[in-house]
Every structure is written in structure tokens, then in C-alpha cells.
């Protein structure tokens, strides 16, 4: 130590001259250099905050898991509703109107009526269901075969199954169009009554709409939860780094410079939480795929669950990152001023 002191005292002031001579000068204000420095600051803040998360794995994981669960719940609900809508759309495509003809109408007249209806705009297909076909179907699906055997004559009328025109890709016709088609068919002299097979579908769509609203509400509440979870984590981080913030302020760091790493922390929490939520939902869909396919087969239909497409995935990740940044912005705004001196 003594040797070092002697060395110091022997040092001529030339070195200080070099160090301090250009005081107030030599500041490089080239736009390119400033932009490079700005980018360098941001990239090092991003890397440094990511490393900080890795250095405290347990705490980071807990926050990320909380964010992930909060994001996964509404995401899963939206995926489920999307699949339900798709399922309803498929059934809607097979749904139509059943025209129960007057008992006096025989199959020949019913065939003529079917031909007339096929030529009408707004009708895609007309199937004739004879009395015998109707009775056979009723026997098969009602389970009342024994009772039907005791009947002396077939009481069922001829039925025309009318399917309205759909646009491609399959999309149900507007309710008003279906209603007007129904009332016009009811006017026909040959028709006893009309049964609208799409009513249950309209109910399903109303339920889906209700669930969509509920999902939006849930998403809003859970987005707020993400916002506050990230905000609280950042608040604790600020508390733990009080000294560092105070020192940065003392040596002339701007508020933006001090705030930057905390905003990046928030962005990382949000992004990693979003990725985890995506993984949770995708894994759940993968696990449910086989049982859903089996269930669909029991109903003589083919159905595969749709996962999150690329655009919804990007929306999920973007939204989670923005929520993280906003949460940390709130915390930084509220707590930084209290930590900084003066």
C-alpha cells in the first residue's frame, strides 16, 4: 500500500491533464453515434434484466406462473368458444326446415311440390321423406317400435326437408331471411305446418355470445390481475434496489434511464407469462384432441379441436407484454419518485 502511495505522489500531473483537459469539450453529438448508444443502452438493459430474472429463478418463476395462469384462463375460454362456434356452424350447415304436408297429400304431389320448391331462390336442396321412410326413422330413433307395430295404418305425413342457401364458407342465413322463408312456406296449401330445425342452433349461438361476453369480462379482470401482479413485483424490485436508484440519480442518470430496466423487467414478465400461457393452452388442446375426436365419432361426425392460430398467438404475446410494461410503468411512476433524493 505504501509503495502504491509513493507511486501516486510521484506521478506528474500530465495524466490528470489528459483525463480532465478536455472538460466541456469533445462530446460526440453525431446522430448515428447517439442512435448506436441508445440502442446499446436498450439492448444491455434488456439482456441485463433477463439475466436478473435468471439469477432469481424461484421468484421469477412464481411471477411468470401467476401471469401465465391469469392469461391462460381467458385464452382457453376463447379457444373453447371458437371451437363451439365452429361446431355449431357445422351443424347449422346440416339444419333446415321440415315441411309436414297435409295428410291427404300423396307422394306424387309431394314430389311435384318439391320440384317447385327447388326452383325457388334461397333454397339449396329439398329432400322428400316418404311416409314409410318417416316411420322407419321414427321406429329407429324413438324406441317405440313395439307400439308402432300395433298401429293399423301409418299416421305420418309426407315431409319435405328444405335446406336454405348458404354462403361459402358455410355461414347461417340471417334470421330474418329464414323467418320470411318459413312464413312463405306456411302459406302453401299443401303444407300442414313447418318446423324450423335451426331454432336450437340460434339458442346455441345466443349461449356462445353470452359466453363470449363472459370471457371478455373475465379477460378484463384477469388482465387487471396481470397488471397488478407485475406492478407489485416491480415495486418490490424497486424497494430492493433503492440504493442503486439513489446512486444513479446522484451521478446524473435521467428518469428514463433509471426507469428503463424496470420496464424491461415488466416486458419480460409479460412475455414469458404469455409464452407459458400459450404452452398451457396448446398442451391442453393436444391432450383433449383424442377424447373430443372419439366423442364426435359417437355422434357420426368428424371434429378436431382448433388451437391458437399464428395471429391470436401474436395478439396473446403482444398483449401480455404490453400488460407487463403497463404494470411496471405504474409501479415505477409511483415508487421511483419516493426513492430518488431531492
Amino acid at each position: 500500500m505504501a509503495k502504491r502511495i509513493r507511486e501516486h505522489r510521484a506521478t506528474p500531473p500530465r495524466r490528470e491533464q489528459r483525463l480532465l483537459a478536455s472538460t466541456g469539450r469533445g462530446r460526440r453529438n453525431h446522430a448515428l453515434g447517439a442512435a448506436q448508444a441508445w440502442l446499446g443502452n436498450h439492448s444491455s438493459a434488456a439482456v441485463e434484466t433477463f439475466n436478473r430474472l435468471i439469477r432469481a429463478p424461484l421468484g421469477s418463476l412464481m411471477t411468470i406462473a401467476t401471469v401465465a395462469i391469469a392469461l391462460a384462463l381467458p385464452t382457453a375460454m376463447f379457444v373453447m368458444l371458437n371451437n363451439l362456434e365452429r361446431l355449431g356452424g357445422g351443424w347449422q350447415h346440416n339444419a333446415g326446415l321440415s315441411l309436414f304436408l297435409q295428410p291427404a297429400i300423396d307422394e306424387a304431389r309431394a314430389g311435384t311440390l318439391a320440384e317447385t320448391l327447388r326452383a325457388r331462390p334461397g333454397i339449396a336442396r329439398v329432400d322428400l321423406i316418404s311416409r314409410e321412410q318417416g316411420l322407419a326413422e321414427f321406429r329407429e330413433y324413438s324406441g317405440l317400435g313395439g307400439v308402432l307395430d300395433q298401429l293399423t295404418r301409418n299416421p305420418l305425413p309426407v315431409v319435405l326437408a328444405v335446406y336454405p342457401t348458404y354462403r361459402m364458407p358455410p355461414k347461417p342465413p340471417p334470421a330474418s331471411r329464414t323467418r320470411s322463408l318459413t312464413s312463405s312456406l306456411e302459406q302453401l296449401a299443401e303444407v300442414d305446418f313447418v318446423r324450423l330445425d335451426t331454432q336450437w342452433n340460434a339458442r346455441l349461438r345466443a349461449i356462445v355470445a353470452l359466453l363470449t361476453n363472459a370471457a371478455l369480462l373475465l379477460a378484463t379482470v384477469l388482465a387487471l390481475a396481470v397488471f397488478f401482479v407485475v406492478g407489485n413485483t416491480i415495486r418490490l424490485e424497486i424497494e430492493n434496489r433503492r440504493t442503486e436508484i439513489r446512486i444513479m440519480d446522484l451521478v446524473g442518470a435521467t428518469s428514463a434511464f433509471i426507469r428503463r430496466p424496470y420496464l424491461y423487467s415488466g416486458a419480460w414478465y409479460g412475455l414469458l407469462g404469455g409464452i407459458s400461457a400459450w404452452l398451457m393452452v396448446s398442451t391442453s388442446i393436444h391432450l383433449l384432441q383424442a377424447p373430443v375426436t372419439r366423442l364426435a365419432k359417437l355422434y357420426h361426425t368428424e371434429f378436431q379441436l382448433d388451437g391458437l392460430g399464428p395471429i391470436p398467438t401474436l395478439i396473446l404475446l403482444g398483449a401480455s407484454m404490453v400488460l407487463g410494461i403497463l404494470g411496471s410503468w405504474l409501479a415505477v411512476g409511483r415508487h421511483l419518485a419516493a426513492v430518488k433524493p431531492g
Binding site: 472538460t23 443502452n41 446512486i247 442518470a253 431531492g342
Partner: protein, 222 residues
């Protein structure tokens, strides 16, 4: 360079910390601020560094009235003056290099220039070989020199030091004052708060003496 005009600083809890202080520190001048604990030395330095605002009076640095300085200009003002603290104020989990580089990084300087400047400053205080070390692995004297390197790395025109040798033994105190002396020789203004009267007397520079918030002695001219 630094001008105090009838400056008073009053705290709601403990009354006047400074009372009607007036003095001027010329460019390139080195002065000591002395007085007992609680005399107002740190408050006076805090007013120059804008850690505090005066209750009355005006403080000017480089002709600029600090009372009229907008908040957004405060960081730039602090980077123009080098501040040295008794407790070193180093960030424990950052290396010596990163601690010294902090004012330059905050100023948005390019990484390449930062490297040159930081190494020059560390060389200056004899700690170049410790650039990768963490401050807590250094002795108190070495930590203080890291603080000094950080204060000069931005090439300030003014250096403020608040009890820079308060935690150092006499030998390290002498070494620190020798460093200040060398900065003074190249035209930097220094205002050093200390109660080490022996050191102040032996160095023969201007002395401003505070007592209970009042400037009771000034060996220089105003």
C-alpha cells in the same frame, strides 16, 4: 463558477440548516468547507448538486441560476459536476468498471469511448487492475478512489466532495487529498467538505468555515 447569494435553507423539522450564506468559488479554485457535524456542510454541497433547493437566495453554477433550472435539466447538471461521498455510494453488485462508467452510460456515450475514459480514470486513481472486481472486495480507501474515478470520468469542471476521507486512515486521507491537488493543478474547481483541520491547514487552500448554518470564516476573497 459557484456563487451563493444570501442562501438560506430551512427544514420544517429542524429549522435553518443554512443561514444567509454568500460566497463565490472562482474557476479552478480549490476550497475546503469545514465545521462540526450538523454545521450545514452537506446541505451546502447538496444545494450545488441540486439534491436540495434553497428556501431563500440564489445558487449559481457556471453562471446558471439553479433556481431557474427545470427538473428535466437536473441530471445533465449533475453530470457536469463530479460528486464524491463519504460512504462512496458504489453499487455493490456492479464491477468497478461499471460503477465508474455509470455517468457516461447515463449520458448516452458510445461504449467504445466509455471504455477508454473509464480505464483512463481508473489508471488515474491506480485501480486499473481492479476494473473487473466488485467494490465490496476492495478496501475502504480503494472504494473511495473508485468513487473519485467515477466523479472525474465525466471530465467535470467542478468536483464536490463530502467528507471524502471520513472513513480513511491518515495515510489514505493524504493520498486522497494529493489526488484532489492534482485535479486542481489542471484547472478543476474543488469544494471539499471535511473536518480534518490538520489536512486543511497543511494544504494551504481557501477555507470556508460553517458554524450552526452560518459562514463564520472565509480565508478567501468575496
Amino acid at each position: 463558477m459557484i456563487v451563493f447569494e444570501h442562501v438560506t435553507k430551512r427544514y420544517a423539522e429542524r429549522g435553518d440548516a443554512l443561514k444567509d450564506i454568500s460566497f463565490a468559488l472562482e474557476p479552478g479554485e480549490m476550497a475546503f468547507l469545514t465545521g462540526h457535524s450538523g454545521a450545514g456542510k452537506s446541505t451546502l454541497l447538496g444545494l450545488i448538486g441540486l439534491l436540495e433547493r434553497p428556501t431563500r437566495g440564489r445558487v449559481k453554477v457556471n453562471g446558471r441560476d439553479l433556481g431557474e433550472l427545470p427538473r428535466r435539466r437536473i441530471p445533465a447538471h449533475r453530470r457536469e459536476i463530479g460528486m464524491i461521498f463519504q460512504d462512496h455510494c458504489l453499487i455493490g453488485e456492479r464491477s468497478v468498471f461499471d460503477n465508474v462508467a455509470l455517468p457516461l452510460v447515463a449520458a448516452g456515450m458510445h461504449r467504445r469511448d466509455i471504455g477508454k475514459r473509464v480505464r483512463a480514470a481508473l489508471d488515474q486513481v491506480g485501480l486499473l487492475r481492479f476494473e473487473r472486481a466488485l467494490p465490496l472486495s476492495l478496501s475502504s480507501g480503494e472504494q473511495q478512489r473508485v468513487g473519485i474515478a467515477r466523479a472525474v470520468v465525466g471530465r467535470p469542471q467542478v468536483i464536490l466532495a463530502d467528507e471524502p476521507t471520513g472513513n480513511l486512515d491518515p495515510e489514505l486521507s493524504m493520498e486522497t487529498f494529493q489526488l484532489f491537488e492534482r485535479f486542481h493543478q489542471v484547472g478543476v474547481s474543488l469544494l471539499i467538505a471535511t473536518h480534518d483541520m490538520d489536512m486543511v491547514t497543511s494544504m494551504g487552500h481557501r477555507m470556508l468555515r460553517l458554524h450552526q448554518g452560518r459562514l463564520v470564516a472565509d480565508s478567501g476573497n468575496w
